[in-house]
């Protein structure tokens, strides 16, 4: 087992050398620390999910443009796509998309309200309030989307 070289005098070096959450692995989060939110506060989890949903939505933006390009190829191509897009699997992915939009959007409002100083120091209350709003909206959207099948 390899031992990390320690400089005497710095506090908590033995703890940091142990395996475990990012919290113990160095002074402050690494540049890519948001990938591993274990052992961190609720806000870091929200930040990580916000980024994951954001990257997913960027991917979806280009996927959406690619799908809409089928319209250029004419009616028959679009109708073929509609047959696939109205299956349960694709409608389920629509609900996943709705989750991504709701989480990213509502968390974005929370971050903007706190970051601009409009509602300072109310991160957690806003998080839970938006979680309730988001869950209810997602449930309504899911029933509407899946119920149309």
């Amino acid at each position: 087992m390899s031992q990390t070289t320690t400089t005497p005098g710095l506090p908590g070096q033995e703890e940091r050398a142990q395996r475990g959450p990012v919290l113990r692995k160095g002074i402050g989060p690494t540049p890519t620390g948001w990938f591993d939110p274990r052992g961190r506060a609720l806000g870091t989890w929200a930040f990580s999910v916000n980024r994951i949903t954001g990257l997913g939505l960027v991917f979806y933006l280009y996927l959406h443009l690619a799908v809409l390009s089928l319209l250029l190829a004419g009616e028959s191509n679009w109708n073929d796509f509609l047959e696939i897009a109205t299956t349960w699997v694709f409608l389920g992915l629509d609900v996943l998309l709705l989750f991504g939009i709701l989480f990213h959007g509502l968390n974005g409002i929370r971050v903007a309200l706190v970051g601009t100083g409009i509602v300072p120091g109310r991160q957690q209350a806003l998080f839970w309030a938006f979680t309730v709003i988001g869950t209810l909206t997602l449930a309504y959207g899911a029933i509407h989307i899946l119920g149309s099948a």
């Binding site: 506090p11 908590g12 070096q13 033995e14 703890e15 940091r16 919290l23 113990r24 002074i27 402050g28 989060p29 540049p31 890519t32 948001w34 980024r51 954001g54 990257l55 939505l57 960027v58 933006l61 280009y62 443009l65 809409l68 390009s69 319209l71 250029l72 004419g74 009616e75 679009w78 109708n79 509609l82 897009a85 109205t86 694709f90 409608l91 629509d94 939009i101 959007g105 974005g108 409002i109 903007a112 970051g115 601009t116 100083g117 300072p120 509407h144 989307i145 149309s148 099948a149």
Partner: protein
């Protein structure tokens, strides 16, 4: 047992005065995000909650009629620019968090500008072509 030093600085009582490119980028992300809340709501409702088809998806003719409306055309164009700007600024902040050097950061910025212009140009072409068929 030694105490583990806190990994985050404690929040300052005074808010630091924002300045610099990153802060401007953050503000643009907030502004485009706020605009997206309205535009995306209109887009989602118009596409998934108005049409009485499975999944709210429009048929080919319905899409042409929809995009042929000048008001909808304008809203969709504005939506395209806003969503592309917001998406690529978010992507930029993720990439810059990877800790690249100054040269790589300039390349990332240039690449994202090119990608953004290409995306908007293609989107305009797509929407314009469909509107002309209406």
């Amino acid at each position: 047992m030694a105490t583990v030093a806190p990994t985050r600085p404690r929040p300052a009582k005074r808010r630091p005065v924002p300045a610099g490119t990153s802060v401007r980028a953050w503000w643009w992300t907030v502004i485009t995000g706020a605009a997206l809340l309205v535009l995306l709501l209109v887009h989602m409702v118009a596409h998934h909650f108005v049409v009485e088809e499975v999944g709210g998806l429009r048929s080919y003719q319905q899409v042409l009629e929809y995009i042929g409306n000048p008001l909808i055309f304008t809203i969709e164009c504005f939506f395209l620019v806003t969503v592309t700007t917001h998406a690529l600024m978010g992507l930029r902040s993720v990439l810059l968090d990877m800790g690249f050097g100054a040269r790589a950061r300039r390349r990332i910025d240039a690449g994202l500008w090119v990608l953004g212009f290409a995306t908007v140009a293609y989107g305009f072409f797509l929407v314009g072509t469909l509107a002309s068929r209406a």
